[in-house]
């Protein structure tokens, strides 16, 4: 297979401007042109080299601001590199901001034509493939309605469909799996696989290490514009995950063991990790650290911030003694992107009922940096939780919801009493 993309020693520099850079002719006339010049520059990409063969898929991972989007821009020739060279064969297609080019007042049909021609297809080809494009997007019934009447999902589907039907030799993708529902996503994946088979080279930028590991043939890890690792996806993904963890470890300052208010010992890098910019000062389980299955549990986390920080992610997990997770919740995933941090404060998680089987558990509490890049403080296997129930954790399952057996025939409906009401036996 031939090489579709060859990138050698790529570098892209950005200028940083004076904050008071005049933005209007008026201002420029008043303040003079001196501030128009950049005051400094920085390299968004430096010394990046890789190769993608025809029919191969490269996954690019890295933190926010690592240069992933810049790389896509440079590959798409919408930004010009300052160093190095790129060789690419064939037409480039892109799945970036899907649907942004659509005009709401035009019908789906009109938008498909404009977008596909802009994407590089001659008019006659668009006419030929039109039905295919619409069928793929499953929008046959709506194609002559103005796009402003579409839902955002419909718009994305149409945009995706146009983009994958322009027959690019190189496809640039930015987090594409967020298109539509699950069935459409698997359709997209199939289509991508087809394109690969036909020799299309794909560059996928993703936050999701697992996705890169599953889909890509090679992976590239970018950090502050330079390549940290490049090679087998499993290896690169592993290194990336390791680094994430060790970043937390490196940031964990050495300090003597501390005692929690319940008398458990906190030892750094054993059951406590994190940079300690925010410290978990106490964790209380209410009403008690021994509850009955199905009862309410409140986890109160006291924290203290040592540095002015904007926000953080609070995470609480409940795990069994052997570490197997039973519950994993955090503020970000539950739709609370911003938490106003106080110097000292308390965050409470209320579980209206906790239907776990009886046994010993731990409540693990963590406070993380806003993009999960490292932990501020994480207490692991420190706070024990005991649950009483008739079902014990010796069975394979972890759940113990209210339940009862019934025969479908109503005459024998009282063979077994509801389990919950049996619990008095154990008293």
């Amino acid at each position: 297979m031939g090489t579709a993309i060859l990138v050698e020693n790529l570098g892209k520099r950005f200028d940083r401007y004076h904050t008071a850079k005049p933005a209007t002719l008026m201002e420029a006339a008043l303040t003079g042109l001196g501030r128009i010049k950049p005051i400094e520059d920085f390299w968004a990409l430096r010394g990046v080299s890789f190769e993608v063969a025809e029919g191969e898929m490269l996954g690019v991972i890295g933190h926010n601001g690592a240069g992933k989007s810049t790389l896509l821009q440079v590959l798409g020739k919408v930004a010009h590199p300052n160093e190095g060279r790129i060789k690419m064969r064939g037409r480039i297609g892109a799945l970036l901001d899907l649907g942004a080019g659509f005009h709401g007042d035009l019908t789906g049909r009109e938008n498909v034509f404009v977008t596909a021609i802009v994407g590089g297809l001659p008019r006659r080809e668009v006419a030929r493939r039109f039905d295919q494009i619409v069928a793929f997007a499953e929008l046959e019934a709506f194609i002559d309605n103005p796009v402003r009447t579409y839902s955002s999902g419909m718009m994305m589907r149409l945009a995706f469909s146009v983009a994958v039907h322009t027959d690019p030799k190189v496809l640039l993708v930015d987090e594409f799996l967020s298109v539509g529902d699950l069935s459409f996503q698997s359709k997209c994946l199939n289509r991508i696989a087809d394109m690969k088979e036909q020799g299309c080279a794909i560059v996928l930028v993703s936050h999701d290490v697992g996705q890169v590991e599953r889909l890509c043939d090679r992976a590239l890890w970018l950090k502050q514009g330079t390549v940290v690792a490049y090679g087998e996806p499993a290896v690169v993904a592993g290194q990336y995950t390791m680094e994430m963890r060790s970043q937390t470890q490196q940031r964990t300052p050495q300090r003597p063991p501390q005692l929690t208010q319940m008398g458990m010992e906190l030892r750094v890098n054993e059951n406590r990790f994190g940079s300690q910019d925010i410290e978990i000062t106490d964790v209380r389980l209410k009403p008690k650290s021994t509850i009955k299955s199905g009862d309410l549990l409140c986890v109160e986390v006291d924290y203290k911030t040592h540095q002015p920080l904007d926000s953080a992610i609070f995470s609480i997990t409940i795990s069994q003694e052997n570490g197997a997770p039973c519950l994993d919740v955090n503020t970000l995933d539950m739709g609370i992107p911003y938490i106003r941090l106080q110097e000292e404060g308390t965050i409470r998680l209320t579980l209206d009922r906790l239907d776990l089987v009886g046994g010993f558990y731990f409540v693990n509490v963590g406070i993380y940096q806003q993009d999960w890049s490292y932990a501020y403080d994480y207490h692991w296997h420190v706070y024990p939780l005991t649950i009483d129930a008739t079902l014990s954790s010796k069975a394979a399952g972890v759940l113990c919801p209210p339940m009862r057996w019934e025969a479908a025939n109503s005459e024998v409906n009282a063979i077994v009493q509801p389990l919950k009401s049996c619990s008095w036996h154990s008293k």
Binding site: F14, P22, A23, T24, L25, M26, A28, I36, Q73, L75, G76, K77, V78, A79, H80, G90, R91, I92, G93, A94, L96, D97, A100, G101, H103, D105, L106, E110, F113, V114, I117, V118, G119, G120, P122, R123, L172
Partner: protein, 269 residues
């Protein structure tokens, strides 16, 4: 410094850049603009005619009824000027904001950004051509006799096209750095409107102002249109030659500047 860096850029060839494809692209973008313009208006494309006709009405009222200006075939005279000027003004005004408003297109890999002002000016040209029959009706009513020199009309349109595109490249580029260019341009164009013989005669300009008044290319272009459409005389070939020469000189510079600025706009973080 800008030019040194852009010369680098202009070397990069887009794979899809052949003439047939460019024609398709131009056609679909012009088509889109026309549709967008009239999609939600009841009168649709008729607006192309209504607005210059209303302007004409105002000028005829003011300068034939209120203040008398003695120009023969006044409505033909003003309507010619208005059509030519409106094409110029509307195109410039729209093209100035084109980089900012076409972000998704510019981000599309391989999209030839430099086509954007051409799309705007072509859309204007179509409106101009659609209004021509009405102009001819005016000319006929005013008793104008058409001569073969009328065949120079497409050439004149081509020159105006090139001049407008050249201006558009520079203005759109400037608008990336200074976002108020569009507002400033509105005022400037109004100035220029009065500094172009649209509703008055060229002969009214005192000769001592000519050296500066004549710098406005639209003065010559409007006059040439009248020469071939109304008066049946040879256009001012010398003026047209000079304008074409200057345009040919600045068009490639504007082209490169535009390309450079549109890339810079997308790169901005």
């Amino acid at each position: 410094m800008i030019l040194k860096r852009t010369s680098n850029l202009s070397r990069q060839k887009f794979p899809t850049q052949n003439l047939g494809y460019l024609y398709d692209l131009l056609r679909s973008l012009v088509d889109r603009d026309m549709k967008l313009m009239y999609k939600r208006s009841a009168l649709g494309i008729a607006w192309t005619l209504i607005s210059p006709l209303l302007q004409l009405l105002v000028f005829v009222f003011v300068f034939q009824v209120v203040i008398k200006i003695d120009i023969p075939q006044y409505s033909s005279y003003v309507f010619t000027g208005l059509l030519v000027w409106n094409w110029f003004q509307n195109s410039l005004f729209q093209a100035t904001g084109i980089i900012i408003s076409s972000r998704p297109l510019i981000r599309q890999p391989g999209f030839p950004t430099v086509i954007l002002p051409v799309v705007v000016v072509t859309t204007g040209l179509i409106h101009f051509v659609l209004a021509l029959p009405v102009l001819f009706v005016f000319l006929l009513i005013d008793g104008v006799k058409f001569t073969p020199i009328l065949l120079a009309l497409p050439l004149l349109q081509l020159i105006q096209f090139a001049v407008t595109v050249t201006f558009s490249y520079f203005l759109a580029s400037l608008n990336v750095t200074f976002r108020d260019t569009q507002h400033t341009l509105g005022v400037l164009l109004q100035f220029l409107f009065y500094l172009t013989p649209i509703f008055y005669e060229l002969g009214n300009i005192p000769p001592r102002y000519w050296f500066i008044y004549g710098l406005n290319p639209m003065v010559h272009i409007v006059t040439c249109y009248r020469q071939i459409l109304m008066w049946g005389t040879q256009p001012d070939w010398l003026a047209l030659l000079i304008i074409s020469g200057i345009t040919l000189l600045f068009l490639p510079i504007g082209y490169r500047l535009f390309k450079y600025q549109s890339l810079r706009f997308v790169e901005e973080i």
